[in-house]
């Protein structure tokens, strides 16, 4: 009888551990890697740790935190500030400032009440951090809150600004784009419901037009001074990222795997291709070539007429945009042994970074 009791108790314990394990798996696979690079170092936000990686050799300079803390994880693109800080949002609701040379903490801002999914906009004197608690937080470069303003939904998109406007553009998942006064957080204007959640960073043109993709299967152009709609372009599927704007042409992809080039003036289609699988992040344009990744595991290079010039099978799943520094293309795959792959401009692999277990 006693042994049956123990059997029952052990079975129940194992079941609870099994179910908890299921939950932790779901919680851990929540985002893709964030990446930023200076001229000599790449900074990779890869879940529980931030890695600083030497761009010439692919070797690890430092990692933060030194020991894994399961409660802290990083997935957004880190941002380098002009005064030499590495700013990284965390899923533990905190915004971290690290010394990019050493990985030591400068400060931690803990004002948010929910996880930080999106990257901050960092200007000369302020950090604008979006939060899933519906607020945009303006924090000075010492980590002190200056103001916060509320939108109607979680904010995942990195805010945008323009030199012509002392304002911050915040795209919220409540389908609305807000413009706030940069110094006070006062609401200047907001759009109507744009028909779908906004998670991509808007592109801002020098002539005062905002471009943003929506989950309502559209790319929309707005007047940056008052938010009125200039034109709408219907896509095949949800547009996750903001577009790249170069020479009055918008380049972006959608979740059905279509990649578009639009005339920024009137929203007419110049061309589109479908290289397969979802395109999640913003493309990068370098001279006359456009670099983008798709979920399948491939980096594509197309010319400005839509011809695929080159492609490189990387591996894993790729959601993050490539980063180009000098003559090096960096790609950060998810679900892959190597967390970061460096290629030459002719897409030959230079090195791959796989962290050493410590």
């Amino acid at each position: 009888m006693k042994s049956k009791k123990y059997f029952l108790l052990i079975t129940l314990l194992i079941s609870s551990i099994f179910i908890s394990a299921c939950s932790s798996t779901i919680y851990s696979s929540t985002g893709w890697h964030g990446l930023v690079a200076s001229t000599d170092t790449a900074y990779l936000a890869a879940g529980t740790q931030i890695y600083a990686i030497d761009l010439n050799t692919g070797s690890e300079d430092w990692r933060y935190p030194a020991k894994v803390n399961a409660k802290i994880s990083f997935y957004a693109n880190p941002v380098l500030s002009s005064d030499g800080q590495l700013i990284i949002p965390g899923y533990d609701n905190s915004l971290y400032s690290l010394n990019p040379a050493t990985g030591f903490e400068n400060w931690i801002f803990t004002g948010s009440t929910n996880r930080l999914v999106g990257s901050p906009l960092v200007t000369q004197d302020m950090i604008y951090q979006p939060s899933t608690d519906h607020y945009i937080y303006a924090v000075d470069l010492e980590g002190n809150q200056v103001w916060k303003s509320e939108t109607g939904g979680p904010i995942w998109a990195q805010p945008a600004n323009s030199p012509d406007c002392a304002c911050v553009y915040v795209a919220s998942m409540d389908h609305i784009l807000y413009s706030y006064e940069a110094t006070t957080g006062r609401l200047l204007w907001q759009t109507q419901d744009l028909g779908g959640a906004l998670v991509g960073t808007p592109a801002v043109s020098s002539d005062g037009v905002l471009y943003l993709g929506t989950f309502g299967k559209e790319m929309i152009a707005l007047d940056a001074t008052n938010g009125t709609i200039r034109w709408r372009f219907t896509t095949q599927d949800w547009v996750w990222s903001g577009p790249a704007l170069v020479d009055n042409v918008l380049y972006f992809g959608d979740l059905s795997g279509y990649f578009y080039a639009l005339n920024a003036t009137d929203g007419t289609s110049l061309w589109r291709i479908q290289p397969q699988n979802s395109i999640v992040d913003t493309p990068v344009v370098l001279e006359d070539k456009i670099y983008f990744t798709n979920e399948a595991d491939t980096l594509y290079i197309v010319d400005t007429t839509g011809n695929i010039v080159d492609s490189k099978l990387i591996g894993g799943l790729i959601y993050s945009a490539p980063v180009i520094v000098g003559e090096t293309i960096l790609v950060a795959p998810t679900n892959f042994d190597s967390l970061l792959v460096a290629l030459n401009l002719d897409v030959n692999q230079k090195w791959a970074f796989t962290p050493v277990k410590k």
Partner: protein, 260 residues
Amino acid sequence: MWNTFILAPMVNVLIWIYTFFFHNFGLAIIIFTILIRLITYPLTAQQLKSQHKMQELQGSKKWQEIQKKYKDDKEKLAQEQMKIYKEMGINPLGSCLPLIIQFPIMIGLYQSISLAMASAPIQLLNLSRNLYTFIPGSQLIPLNSKFLWMNLGLPEISTPLFDLFGFAVPIMTIIVVITTWLQSKLMTPPPANPGDQSAQMSKMMNLYMPILMGWIAYSLSSGLALYFIISNVLGVAQYAIMGKVNWSNLLPKRKVANLK
């Protein structure tokens, strides 16, 4: 397979209900639980029937006799028991089936809540792929995850109603433990032989099950805790309507002195 037959239908039904009930995900979970209870009603009735047949059988003279006769020959005892089960048309696993069916529903519901709440990019990407065409996902997302004081996609302790001595009080977990205990107590028929193994086993289950459910409710999303509470309350109500609730089980029992 799991996604196609369990996860996708569940998440779509939940979101479909959400569109009709004031865009309130808590209400959607409550309605969904009622639907699950209605769908699994034939199984619950079957479980009850099997439980009572088993109860009658275990109190019968024939059963007692073979227990005595083959007490030293476990193999023969099992054979004889099976023979009696067959004769009386009892499935010995009949009362376990509804419990077994609860597990995929529970895991599916947990995953559906996490997916529908889409509190992180990969979950949202997965949600976009699991939505049926009749669900207006573009307009609905993000779903309103707030219900009472909770964020239904996160464990309750991440948004506690209040703290006590610096600790977040898990109210939903406490209610899950109480309602699970009440349900087990009220739905367990009085044992034919209080001293036998099966009576001891059900006593143990009544003790450990609330703890297990409480632990799950504490560590997983609060939406799942809401499902447990509603499911427990409906379970008791269902049995009460069928006239099978043993209210006397809640009263403390007097110990009968063994005078032998």
